[in-house]
């Protein structure tokens, strides 16, 4: 297998996923102190972008019928918004 073939078969997506993973890790560094809501939202955004890359390219949902593509995108948007929403709610001390 040539490098070219590996890259075309999903290697590029894999490299992007690795880069995003290491970036999230560095973004979250200094685990002992409490970060801001922005950092948390950023981490979740990275996670859902990665999830969508896996869905579109590895599961090949990009070739799927429209209904399935929409279903996964709805999951990603609703999922991201709920996690950030709940985190925001707690962060603002609204629960106490």
């Amino acid at each position: 297998m040539t490098i070219r073939e590996i890259l075309d078969a999903g290697g590029r997506v894999w490299l992007i996923l690795l880069t995003l993973t290491i970036s999230s890790y560095l973004l979250a560094e200094d685990f002992a102190t409490r970060g801001g809501l922005v950092i948390m939202a950023g981490l979740f955004a990275f996670a859902f972008i990665k999830a969508r890359l896996i869905i579109r390219h590895f599961m090949e949902v990009k070739h799927a019928p429209l209904a399935l593509r929409i279903a996964f995108d709805v999951w990603a948007v609703v999922g991201f918004c709920s996690l950030v929403g709940v985190a925001w709610y707690g962060h603002e001390g609204l629960l106490n």
């Binding site: 997506v13 070739h63 799927a64 707690g90």
Partner: protein, 196 residues
């Protein structure tokens, strides 16, 4: 649509496996997302406890585990790629490489749990660790099921020559499940290990 030629074992504008598989995957994603939202909800009552407890997790092991699962998924992608051009020996090798990464993930998990138990941390230590064990163990069960499925698929690989189309179909469906295990971990890592 993007493609004029078939991209998988079915027709253009189609997906691997059958619709039931995709419903199961969407259901699983939803259940896990609800579970993560629950963790974040309870975190809101006592953020300091969560931050302090989270600092006792091993983020580096989690990072290695993420890289292992992403690489594992990629090997499975390559395995399917090779199977489509009917290069089954190469496909089988990539599948084994993907499974090896999965086994590596389980090994790292045992090291991690071992460290926790040694430090006297378990399910009942506090609320954070209850969620930590609950989410990671539930995910680990998915890894084990995924590896089991891939093993069965690998055992069904043709020894030589004769190949039924069903083999490719099974490999693609197993691959979809394995990618889901990977993407659940990606979100779990952000919520349980990194969010602070």
């Amino acid at each position: 649509m993007n493609e004029a030629t078939p991209t998988n074992s079915n027709q253009p504008e189609s997906v691997y496996g059958e619709i039931g598989l995709w419903i199961a995957i969407l259901a699983d994603l939803t259940i896990f997302t609800l579970m993560f939202a629950t963790v974040l909800y309870y975190r809101g009552f006592n953020p300091e406890l969560y931050v302090q407890s989270q600092a006792r997790l091993d983020q580096f092991i989690a990072l290695i585990n993420t890289l292992l699962l992403l690489t594992s998924s990629f090997f499975v992608v390559l395995s399917i790629h090779k199977a489509r051009s009917w290069d089954w020996p190469m496909s089988g090798r990539f599948l084994l490489a993907g499974m090896a990464c999965g086994v590596g993930f389980i090994g790292m998990k045992f090291i991690e749990y071992g460290d926790k138990f040694e430090a006297g941390i378990n399910l009942r230590t506090n609320e954070f660790f209850m969620f930590y064990f609950m989410t990671t163990i539930l995910h680990l069960v998915h890894v084990l099921i995924g590896l089991g499925v891939l093993t069965i698929i690998r055992l069904g690989f043709p020894a030589r020559g004769v190949v039924a189309k069903g083999r490719l179909f099974a490999l693609e469906a197993g691959g979809v499940f394995w990618h889901m295990v990977d993407l659940l971990w990606v979100i779990l890592m952000a919520v349980v290990y990194l969010a602070r």
